[in-house]
Symmetry: C2
Subunit: 155 residues, 2 copies
DNA sequence: GTCATATACTTCGAATTTTGAACTATTCAA
DNA sequence: TTGAATAGTTCAAAATTCGAAGTATATGAC
């Protein structure tokens, strides 16, 4: 069972190649982000980027694979920094909508545009390849948002 | 400056689309991994996957965007679990090589093959699209490993 | 209407993880 | 041989994450 490691290495399946690439890119982007956004914690930066529009905290918790109390803490940080405000969701007054302030939007814009630049440099892809990659990435994202990986994780 | 948000949203650049997809996939894979590998911490799981061949701890620290003391702790965990051993690097006796035991290789194989399956389900791509994506992902990974994002992060 | 139950978020203390500074051992260069 | 640099370790402090109990609102049964 362990002696097929060498064959695995010699000819990795496309899926594994894809994952390796995704991990490498993710980590490289995270590293670069750490250099850019000086005042935000990791989680705060992620949340800022997720807030392309007002979102409920529960939605963010699901999205960011974490627990409500963590979202509370992260939102507290961003609110204290003046980057977002909480507004009651008119459709369900138990819930809050997190809304970026103008300052928050500006910072988010900055991060997003820096990120585009980083992608370009980190990936080394030309415009055509970037377009191809983006098309597939969108497809993947749609699929993930649509389906939360069905059943079958067996644990 | 903040009023171009709507245009950004309406027609995101390919780079940002790519990054969004990569983040979504990364997080989904992480979530799924958490369900699979019962005994390993997050960091331990990452290290196991990185150890496709014996590696120095310093290399791993660079690779995993962390600090030597974190690598020490993570390696301690995997060593205690019988998944790897430390061997002095014959080329520099200050350094350790982390080498997977047979048990470690088996577990790594298992994780890697589960990951392939997860990619398939999470991405929703067909074989042809997966091959395209993998080709680009490899290219990206090669570029990242080759160049550590040159200069220009300005901070 | 009102009572019971479910949901959205908060609080806060405990558990986990990560960090950084001081330390040991080895290498490298002069 | 000596001094400076590098690889990894230790350990206590800092940061992060979690989870259980709590508050407020919603929803459904009667």
């Amino acid at each position: 069972m362990s002696d097929d490691i060498s064959t695995r290495l010699g000819r990795l399946s496309p899926e594994i190649q894809a994952i390796m690439g995704v991990y490498a890119l993710y980590w490289k982007l995270e590293e670069a982000f750490d250099c850019v956004e000086t005042d935000l914690s990791h989680a705060e930066c992620h949340m800022l980027i997720k807030l392309d529009q007002p979102k409920r905290m529960g939605v963010l918790a699901t999205d960011m694979l974490t627990v409500p109390s963590t979202i509370t803490a992260t939102a507290d940080g961003l609110e204290k920094a003046g980057l977002l405000t909480r507004e009651r969701d008119p459709e369900d007054r138990r819930a809050w909508l997190l809304v970026l302030t103008e300052q928050g939007q500006d910072l988010r814009n900055m991060l997003v545009s820096v990120a585009g630049d980083l992608f370009h440099r980190a990936s080394g892809l030309d415009a055509d390849e970037t377009a191809q990659f983006a098309r597939l990435a969108c497809k993947i994202r749609d699929n993930i948002l649509k389906t939360g990986i069905p059943e079958g994780l067996t644990k």
